[in-house]
């Protein structure tokens, strides 16, 4: 490979890290935002429920962390953090990009839907504060798929060999 196309490997890899962080982060931001609106409504009526609804609001926040996780592993993999960039050919770079996509895309979508589920679960807490344990479970169900995506992203990124 010659010219600019041959040197784009590192760019693809970084794009992967960026996609993991910004997509999953955006998903979490949307989710936490949705849940936060519901939480504020509950606290306005009953300030005693603050701790419980805060936990509920935080539940969709994990996707952003998973994205950060994959982004960080990718950055350390390509040597951006150590200061010495690894030589990455376009094929490896694109592989890293592909490896980052699951957590990015699933993080975005599941973050949003987990937020909506959290908002509904906050409704349970508002009406029946003693059912907190069950209410917490519904948003956790959505998160399962983010965890599965995270798993595949981590496994693929850490198993791609970089010279």
């Amino acid at each position: 490979m010659e010219g600019i196309w041959g040197n784009l490997g590192i760019v693809y890899a970084l794009l992967g890290a960026a996609a993991a962080v910004f997509l999953a982060g955006a998903g979490s931001a949307i989710g936490v935002g949705i849940a936060g609106q519901a939480a504020s409504g509950v606290v306005a009526e009953d300030p005693n429920q603050f701790a419980k609804v805060l936990i509920m609001q935080l539940l969709p926040g994990t996707q952003g962390i998973y994205g950060l996780l994959v982004g960080f592993i990718t950055l350390s993999k390509i040597g951006l953090l150590g200061g010495s960039l690894a030589a990455i050919d376009p094929q490896t770079g694109l592989m890293i990009l592909a490896a980052c996509l699951p957590i990015g895309i699933v993080g975005l979508i599941s973050g949003k839907y987990q937020g909506m589920t959290s908002a509904a679960a906050i409704g349970i807490v508002a009406k029946k504060p003693d059912q907190f344990g069950k209410a917490m479970l519904f948003p956790a169900m959505v998160e399962t798929y983010a965890i599965l995506a995270l798993l595949i992203s981590i496994l693929s990124v850490s198993n791609i060999s970089v010279a």
């Binding site: 936990i55 935080l58 539940l59 926040g61 994990t62 962390i65 998973y66 950060l68 996780l69 960080f72 592993i73 953090l81 003693d130 059912q131 907190f132 344990g133 069950k134 917490m136 479970l137 956790a140 169900m141 998160e143 399962t144 965890i147 599965l148 995270l150 798993l151 981590i154 496994l155 850490s158 198993n159």
Partner: protein
Amino acid sequence: MAVLQMQRISICALKTERKAILEKIQSLGVMEINHVLDEDQDFQKMDTASQRSSFEKAANTADQALAILQEYVPVKQSMLSSLAGKDLVEQKKFRESVSRKEETLKNAKQLVRLNKSIAEKKANILKLENDQEALTPWLPLDIPMNYSGTTHTAMLLGTMPGAMTLEDIYGAIAENAPDAAGTDVQIITAEQDTTYLTVICHRKDETAVEDALRSKGFAKPTQVTHHVPSRKKELLEGKIKQLNTEITDIESQIKGLDSKRADLKLMSDYYRIRADKYQVLGDIPQSQRTFLISGYVPGNAVELMKKEIGERFDCVIDMEEVKEEEDMPILLKNNKFSESVDGVLASYGLPQRHEFDPTTIMSFFYVFFFGMMLSDAAYGAIIAIACFIVLKKFPRMEKGMSKMIRMFMFCGISTVCWGILFGGYFGDVITVVAKTFFDTDIVVPALWFVPLNNPMKLLVYSLAFGVIHLFVGLGIKGYSLIKQKKYLDAVCDVGLWFLFLLGLLVMLIPSDLFASIAQVKIVFPAAVTAFGKYGTIAGALGLLLMSGRSSKNPGLRLALGAYDLYNITGWLSDVLSYSRLLALGLATGVIASVVNQMGSMAGKGVFGALMFALIFLVGHALNMAINILGAYVHTNRLQYVEFFGKFYEGGGRAFEPFKENTKYVDIKEEH
């Protein structure tokens, strides 16, 4: 370990002793009142609603009075004070305080009254201030506002909309009342949208001039005073001042009642206890001279009841087993370690009467999985120590809360163990600090292995732990079925599944797929391999034939069997769900190293060290908080969905004994 067996206790005693007996039962707090006898000619219930509501009202008044005291004489409460629990009060002190209850109630009413009068006075002040506001534009006027004029002249006083000039007003008068001569207009205050003015005219022209002005929007003020406005203002100010002094006075009266706080609390609880007692009293059937009370008592409290009630009072106590069709309340008995997680179980649902109590088994898995997901020795130590201190500092903490904190303490200890196994101490802080500040390379070795270096290995272990957890769940189902003597169900619904799943596992482990994941090739002896093959086939066939055994139709039976066999996908997803053990464990470690790396970016030196300390504190606090939350939520999920899904139904009703349900204090038992 188990659901406590309840006994139905029935006590029949003399009516003259009913209150003493009820009080004793209430202070023992081991009996749930539940009546089976309906009213008839001889036994009738008593109406206690009016007494009850008067007691509840008294308790409420005391609560209100306490809230008022808290408003005017706030007692500082630290963040942790909600953990402190209720104070313990000696019987003697309680009785002493209760003997003053009339006076205390008077004080409580006094407090409520004082508070009301402050509120009224404040509303009054607000009104006076509004009056003052309305008066402000008239202040330059030096005659009383209701001055109507002399014998020959009339004075009109009012407002006109908009900013009017003298010319405008004179023009309006000249236009609409041309006959009125010698009219004098004075603008008192001109604002942007209102003009305040007085007009003096001949008394005979008064109507004409007023009509002329009205046509331009002239209006008389709603409130006129017979004082000169500035004088009126002084009067209003005087009144406000007066009210404020009165408020201060009342406030000091309220503060003077602060010493009654303890009495108010005790009185509130006293009336609360009495209200409960009267509710029960209203429920028990009474004949002319006797009464009958019946309910559930846990088996281990039967002797206590016999001793405390039977020996002290003239009564007949009858014990019997709880009948099968009765809705027996559930009370669990577990050891100190396992009972710490029973809040988790209760929030899913207590076991039913004959169901297996999974608390003990769950407690081990709970602590194990929590530690694995958090997996940082330093975080674990912080949690364990913090929980330990809180438990020691507040021995009288509310029971549910203290159990939960104990649970987190055990989880913290487990986290320390996993952290040591995986080599995580605030992530890799030792390595980073050594490198940044001392230029040396120190790597704290993991006792087992570092998950980030070998995620596949941890994945396999996570799934293996999952399989064990699920098999234990299925095993419990088998155990319960055998205990209920449903042997065929135990073999078909549990035994066949075990055969099928174990066979599949034995076939999977030597396969290339497994080898590529685990990076080890495992070869079983031929006999085991053969067991795998035939076990799987036998299990699958058995399930196909037996799962639909409730159906007589052979075609439908096979179809149901095939559908049950399809549940293998459920097993697959359940096992895969345990991969969160790996994912959450990695998340803690990696974010901790991100924090450390960020901290080290400022480099060496004092500034670098300061930056590091700051980032370290904030970053790790955040990481810890979010990962504790994650570990808690997902450990719960693994128990509720995967584990309980295999065998547990729940839906039992919690045991609610008739006891002294106090709000502020606990009353010490007398021995």
